[in-house]
């Protein structure tokens, strides 16, 4: 008889944890994590190689319609609790000997887990960390920095539509002399939006972030007096401002014209009609952010991703076309918007409708 294997591989543990969090079994989830610690896995590995991948899977499974909203939220809540409980495990802890870091999510960003994981990892590595959580209004962030005197801000955002807000937060931190390390799916898989918005550093994951902080991130040059528009000179054409300000009207126009084109929509329930309006609002929102960043991929990526989601939910992806056509007609006087819409329509025609990870996917 073979003795039962005592050490379970990280992959097996991940599968077990996935099972536990998606079946709402907090006790089993905590048990798996604590047993791993007792068996000698260090806390950072537990956070980043066990918990983080499971949380990523929650996002992708939701996108593929294999997980309900309730399951997604429940899984996140359980993960949060397990992380909180980790802080009380007697595994060796590091006294804070390094610098002082503030970790925060941008305003209206409610996915706090990636930032939470970073905060825990930095604490483990001996940093003094202020974790401000999800949805931190820029004013609160700045007031906190004035009071705490933290040396660096780690700013997290998962959803690209928060990029203009993230930009405002980045410039505000830099204006008071504090460098910003940007992280999270919103900044692009290669950090392109972090660079675009002038962040002082970008990290693809918590370990890279910790390394960058250890190497030191130079403080921004205060003498120059930089403005947001200096990073994005195309904003001077006012397309972003005009489209952003008329978002609700645009959504209304598209909705009304869609109803004219598709008499079947008259039979929609109020609920269905609202879902349609929400989908349109989402498209307009991404278009607005693409105007802000002047980035074709951002909008095209969103449209093809949405097509994938629709397919997963058994809605034909071609239903996106009429909305894009109406928007293109409405915004024909805006050259950059026209370019973005043309690119997206072209991509939609060619896109294989598969679901995958996308910056818009909950992290």
């Amino acid at each position: 008889m073979n003795a039962p294997t005592l050490v379970t591989s990280t992959e097996e543990l991940r599968d077990q944890l996935w099972e536990a969090v998606t079946s709402r079994d907090e006790y089993r989830a905590a048990g798996i994590v604590f047993t791993a610690l007792d068996n000698g896995m260090d806390t950072e590995t537990v956070l980043l190689d066990l918990i983080a991948p499971v949380q990523t899977k929650v996002g992708t499974e939701w996108a593929a319609n294999r997980l309900s909203v309730a399951q997604e939220h429940a899984a996140s809540a359980i993960t949060e609790r397990v992380i909180a409980a980790l802080a009380h495990h007697p595994a060796p802890r590091t006294p804070p000997t390094r610098g002082h870091i503030t970790v925060a999510c941008v305003d209206q960003e409610w996915h706090s887990l990636p930032a939470r994981l970073l905060a825990e990892v930095l604490t483990l590595r001996g940093w003094r960390v202020d974790f401000l959580g999800a949805q931190v209004p820029t004013q609160h962030l700045i007031a906190h920095l004035h009071n705490s005197g933290a040396e660096t801000v780690a700013l997290s955002s998962s959803i690209p539509t928060r990029l203009p807000t993230a930009h405002a937060a980045i410039t505000a931190c830099q204006a008071i002399g504090i460098p910003v390390l940007a992280g999270g799916a919103a900044f692009g898989h290669d950090g392109r939006y972090a660079r675009l918005l002038g962040a002082n550093a970008w990290a693809p994951d918590a370990r890279a972030a910790a390394r960058q902080l250890t190497d030191g991130i130079p403080a921004p040059n205060l003498a120059s007096g930089r403005h947001q528009v200096d990073d994005l000179p195309h904003l001077a054409d006012q397309e972003y401002t005009l489209v952003a300000r008329t978002q609700p009207q645009l959504v209304k126009t598209v909705l009304v014209q869609l109803e004219d084109r598709f008499p079947a929509m008259a039979a929609y329930t109020a609920h269905q009609r609202e879902r349609t309006a929400e989908d349109i609002a989402h498209i307009v929102e991404f278009l607005t952010v693409a105007l802000y960043t002047d980035d074709d991929d951002l909008f095209t990526g969103f449209i093809t991703w949405t097509a994938g989601i629709l397919t997963a939910r058994h809605v034909p992806a071609r239903s996106l076309h009429p909305a894009l056509d109406i928007l293109a007609a409405e915004l024909k006087d805006f050259p950059r918007a026209t370019r973005l819409l043309d690119q997206a329509r072209f991509a939609l025609d060619r896109a294989p409708t598969t679901t995958g990870s996308h910056p818009g996917a909950p992290a």
């Binding site: 709402r24 079994d25 907090e26 006790y27 905590a30 048990g31 604590f34 309900s68 909203v69 309730a70 939220h73 429940a74 996140s76 809540a77 359980i78 949060e80 609790r81 397990v82 909180a84 409980a85 802080a87 009380h88 495990h89 007697p90 305003d107 209206q108 409610w110 949805q135 209004p137 004013q139 609160h140 007031a143 920095l145 004035h146 009071n147 705490s148 005197g149 204006a175 008071i176 002399g177 205060l222 003498a223 120059s224 007096g225 978002q247 609700p248 009207q249 959504v251 209304k252 909705l255 609920h271 609202e274 309006a277 929400e278 349109i280 609002a281």
Partner: protein, 554 residues
């Protein structure tokens, strides 16, 4: 050769009239002629002597260069080209020497005194540099309202431009001197020392705002060791101590130090140091005022902030709060959770809404929360509690009123018994594990308006997977949505809650807050507060509540 000499004589007589010194020498470096002005300027200059003996080295050398033709012709006089001019000092003045080539190869040097222009140019460059520095310094100094960072920035700037080493000393706090020390414009180090400012002549006075002591009065040998950055071992040659003037109070002092090899501080430099100190002092005192004010605010605000919630006796309780203004931390909504006094007592959960927004409303929420805490011993009778609260509010100077809901929470095995009483507040909602959403039909009068009130308490039971939600009308009355101007409304809330069946309390709170935040986007909204109370999902008691090691405890 004779004609050349006659020519020279003619020319010499004309040069005599020239307002500038003129000296002519041949290719071998022998002076051929000088005019009167040159005779005065260059001692011993006369026909026949060597250039090297009478002209300053730079001019003699330039003459040699011109004669051997190594100087490129850059100056053009009509159709002739002339070698480039040179410049240098003669005695205390500065001169430009313009050479002209005679046909026989000898050179005539025309000397123009440019001392004043040079001084003016140097003064202009200095002033430009100072203006650039002051404007950059203002940008840097005004950026931060954190006193530590502001001190460090001041020291770094001063050590970059005004001195080799700069030390900023803030007024003592708690018997210790906060310092920031920088060397050669590098990042400053900060320290908090138990040092005596009277160790350094002029420092104690500067910290009290007395005028600066002239640098020549301070003996660098008297400099205490703590005033120097750690690892700084060089000798200091000169010291300046300047007060940092604040808004009504001294903001600290700036100590400027130069190495013994460097130049002493000139009077002009001391004046400029004071200009810089004025800016630094203004920035530092603004930072100090800000930190004092925000400390006061935080202290006063502490009791008005929503409390941190945790599980009580295995019952999940989660809360969320979003004030109306993004700039605010508190508002007119509030909640509290009071654990039962004895282990078997029910816990009391309170959630309410004071009419109005912002700080004024928040102050009244503080009063209500205090009053309710005092009334906890009678928490088994909600109506009585509300009557007493009503009386207390009627008798206060506040003209505002409030609505609230009380929930007594008691676990009984797997189930949670709730007694709920609404005082003019939106109905509590119960989400059953199967997704049905019930509203709990408790009703009562609002508080703080009428002398007598009525309230009806309703009991309900939460089974595993059920959640009771208390919320303020900020959610249902939130305007926004995809079309921008719709109310979120009761129906959408019920719909959203029905999707929250069998979710942990925190997840329900997160979900509703997220939906509300998406609904209002960047638009204005009222305060929003909510509390979710969930029956434990399994037969286990709390496994991990964030406060214990977290193991199977049941």
């Amino acid at each position: 050769m004779a004609s050349s000499r006659e020519n020279t004589a003619d020319q010499t007589s004309l040069w005599g009239l020239a307002p500038y010194p003129v000296i002519m020498a041949d290719r071998s470096g022998t002076v051929l002629a000088v005019n009167d002005a040159a005779g005065v300027l260059l001692k011993g200059a006369a026909s026949g002597v060597s250039m090297a003996d009478v002209a300053p080295a730079w001019l003699a050398e330039a003459h040699r260069d011109v004669c051997v033709g190594t100087v490129p012709a850059t100056r053009t006089d009509g159709d002739r080209t002339a070698p480039a001019s040179v410049s240098g000092r003669i005695a205390a003045n500065s001169f430009e020497a313009h050479p002209s080539l005679a046909p026989d190869g000898s050179v005539v040097w025309w000397l123009v005194d440019d001392t004043d222009r040079r001084l003016a140019e140097e003064a202009l460059a200095t002033e430009r540099e100072r203006t650039r520095f002051l404007s950059e310094a203002s940008n840097v100094l005004l950026a931060s309202l954190n006193t530590g960072r502001c001190m460090a920035a001041t020291a770094q700037l001063a050590a970059e431009y005004l001195a080799d080493v700069a030390v900023v000393v803030a007024p003592a706090t708690g018997g210790k001197l906060p310092l920031a020390r920088a060397v050669d414009g590098k990042a400053a180090e900060r320290a908090l020392l138990g040092a005596d400012p009277s160790d350094l002549p002029g420092l104690a006075e500067a910290l009290q705002g007395f005028p600066p002591v002239p640098s020549r009065w301070i003996d660098p040998a008297a400099l205490p060791a703590w005033a120097l950055p750690q690892d700084f071992t060089e000798t200091i040659g000169s010291v300046v101590v300047t007060p940092l003037p604040g808004h009504g109070v001294p903001a600290g002092a700036l100590i400027l130090l130069r190495r013994s090899g460097s130049a002493q501080f000139s009077e002009n430099e001391e004046v400029f140091a004071r200009l810089f100190a004025a800016r630094a002092g203004a920035a530092l005192s603004a930072a100090r005022l800000y930190s004092e004010q925000s400390a006061i605010t935080q202290t006063l605000m502490r009791d008005l902030l929503p409390p941190t919630l945790q599980r009580l006796d295995g019952v999940e309780i989660a809360g969320g709060y979003r004030p109306a203004g993004a700039a605010e931390q508190v508002g007119g909504d509030f909640y509290d959770v009071h654990p039962g006094i004895a282990a078997t007592d029910a816990s009391l959960v309170v959630l309410g809404d004071v009419c109005g927004k912002g700080l004024e409303a928040a102050v009244l929420t503080g009063k209500i929360r205090n009053t309710l805490q005092a009334l906890l011993p009678m928490a088994d009778d909600h109506e009585r509690m509300l009557r007493l609260l009503n009386g207390a509010l009627l008798n206060s100077y506040h003209t505002r009123f409030a609505t609230l809901v009380l929930a007594s929470v008691q676990r009984a095995g797997n189930e949670v018994r709730l007694r709920l009483t609404s005082a003019g507040h939106p109905h509590p909602l119960v989400i059953r594990a199967d997704g049905t959403v019930e509203h709990v039909p408790t009703r009562g009068s609002l508080i703080g308006v009428l002398p007598t009130i009525e309230a009806r308490t309703v009991e309900t039971v939460l089974r595993p997977g059920d959640t009771c939600l208390l919320h303020t009308d900020g959610f249902t009355e939130a305007r926004g949505g995809p079309l921008g101007d719709e109310m979120f409304g009761d129906e959408r809330l019920r719909q959203a809650l029905s999707e929250c069946a069998d979710m942990p309390a925190e997840a329900v709170v997160d979900r509703i807050q997220m939906l509300a935040s998406q609904w209002v986007r960047n638009g204005p909204h009222d305060d929003m507060a909510l509390i979710a109370i969930s029956a434990p999902h399994t037969h286990h008691l709390s496994a991990v509540n964030g406060h214990t090691r977290g193991r199977y405890t049941a």
